[in-house]
């Protein structure tokens, strides 16, 4: 555990696509190796009305990358006088990460978004040097990502509505983190729809 920077602090995030809705969820643990320090460290950040990013990995980089991305998106919105689109945000993030190709940030990212006019959904993930993915149904990052992936693939159905999506996402996350000592201690789930965003806090096993 000590040697692997990406599991030093622990943490996990997951995102799933539904019919004109998306869910993004993360755990709340902040730890230093096997010591849990805080249980309110959420890893999801909002960058536009319907654009969210989750970062998992080294906690300092989770904070720094989210803030530096915010810097860039704030200037974008001021200059262009318009809100960010999910694919543009995704490209900005991967660009930011690749700038540090030979001295990288230790965070893996999930970018999700929804076009409120058309209902088109965007779910992407990125490694820590900005490798881009396709717009996919399910993405996970973090120390328990493999466990959550398995459960996510099991619970996922295409074209779920917001409630079904919330259930699938929550179950995949909560049960997946139970297999990982470095993740857990509660969860936060955002369900993003065309006209509203619902945030729910989940209480799982507090260990």
């Amino acid at each position: 555990m000590g040697d692997d920077i990406l599991s030093y602090n622990g943490g996990v995030a997951l995102a799933m696509k539904g019919k004109e809705c998306i869910a993004i969820a993360c755990d709340k643990r902040y730890g230093v190796q096997n010591r849990t320090i805080a249980t309110n460290f959420t890893k999801i950040f909002q960058y536009s009305d319907h654009c969210f990013v989750a970062f998992c990995g080294l906690a300092t980089d989770v904070q720094t990358v989210s803030e530096r991305l915010k810097f860039r998106t704030n200037l974008y919105e001021l200059r262009e006088q318009r809100k960010l689109k999910p694919n543009v945000l995704y490209n900005m993030l991967t660009n930011l990460l690749y700038e540090r190709r030979f001295g990288p940030y230790f965070v893996f990212a999930l970018v999700v978004g929804l076009d409120p006019k058309t209902g088109e959904t965007f779910v992407y993930d990125s490694d820590n040097i900005g490798a881009i993915s396709d717009n996919v149904n399910l993405v996970t990052v973090g120390t328990a990502s493999e466990y959550i992936f398995g459960l996510g693939e099991l619970f996922f159905k295409p074209n779920m509505n917001a409630d079904e999506l919330f259930e699938a996402t929550s179950q995949a996350l909560l049960n997946g983190v139970d297999r990982d000592s470095a993740s857990g201690w509660g969860a936060v789930v955002y369900v993003i729809e065309k006209d509203k965003i619902t945030v729910r806090e989940l209480k799982g096993r507090q260990d």
Binding site: Y76, R79, E80, R82, N87, V88, Y90, N91, N95
Partner: protein
């Protein structure tokens, strides 16, 4: 060259003018005329392209240039300065695409080009650009066309229709009378040609004018054959 001079050559006169910029504008106003008209569904740019000699083979040198898929430029003033700005504009458009994976909105590119022109009025050892640019583009987010003018000072103005270069005052007066918000792109091309004709000496042919149009499909320069058709319609 600009490393040797730590001071700008563009300095204020007692009256508060930057005389170098005024002189640059003189260079623009002595250049061949260019016209831009924004229609309801697109923009047209047109310019006179007279050769100095019959021996010139001018078919491969262009004044109307595309910057990226949805934007084009034309100028009045010094050709070599224009070439540089076209290169810079193209690079700026691609830099935007690399970071945002989106076509640059016209307003954004114009700001960046204008910043470049302003830089040359405040940096060491350089002179302002001796061109005014007419920049046209289609904004896919707002779903409408744009026409901008960029001056040697770095100021930029959005226009419905404008003329720059020789006889631009007459050109603008002509446009003020002819312009309407309901103009379609086809009509705008005719109006642009007629505006150029006002200050044109001699016979206008498809070889001594250049026209570019920008609509939702993107920007393109008209082929000489297409220009010939429009000229025939004018009569």
């Amino acid at each position: 060259m600009s490393e040797r001079y730590g001071f700008s050559l563009t300095t204020f006169s007692p009256s508060g003018k930057l005389v170098q910029i005024e002189y640059a504008l003189n260079a623009v106003n002595a250049g061949s005329p260019a016209v831009g008209i924004k229609a309801s569904n697109g923009v047209v740019l047109a310019t006179e392209k007279k050769s100095k000699s019959l021996l010139h083979d001018d078919r491969t040198i262009h004044k109307v240039e595309s910057v990226c898929k949805n934007m084009g430029l034309v100028y009045s003033g010094m050709g070599p300065d224009y070439r540089l700005l076209v290169q810079k504009a193209r690079k700026l458009a691609q830099e935007y695409m690399l970071v945002y994976e989106e076509n640059v909105p016209p307003t954004q590119l114009v700001k960046r080009i204008a910043d470049v022109m302003q830089e040359y009025t405040q940096s060491g050892g350089v002179r302002p650009f001796g061109v005014s640019l007419l920049i046209c583009g289609y904004d896919y987010d707002e779903d409408r066309p744009f026409l901008y003018q960029c001056d040697p000072s770095g100021s930029y103005f959005p226009w419905k229709a404008t003329a720059i270069g020789r006889n631009f005052v007459n050109g603008k007066t002509f446009l003020e009378k002819r312009y309407s918000d309901q103009l379609a792109l086809e009509d705008a091309v005719h109006t642009a040609i007629l505006t150029l004709k006002e200050s044109f000496e001699g016979q206008m042919t498809e070889d001594n004018i250049e026209i570019g149009i920008c609509d939702k499909e993107g920007f393109r320069r008209l082929t000489p054959a297409e220009v010939k058709d429009y000229l025939a319609q004018i009569g």
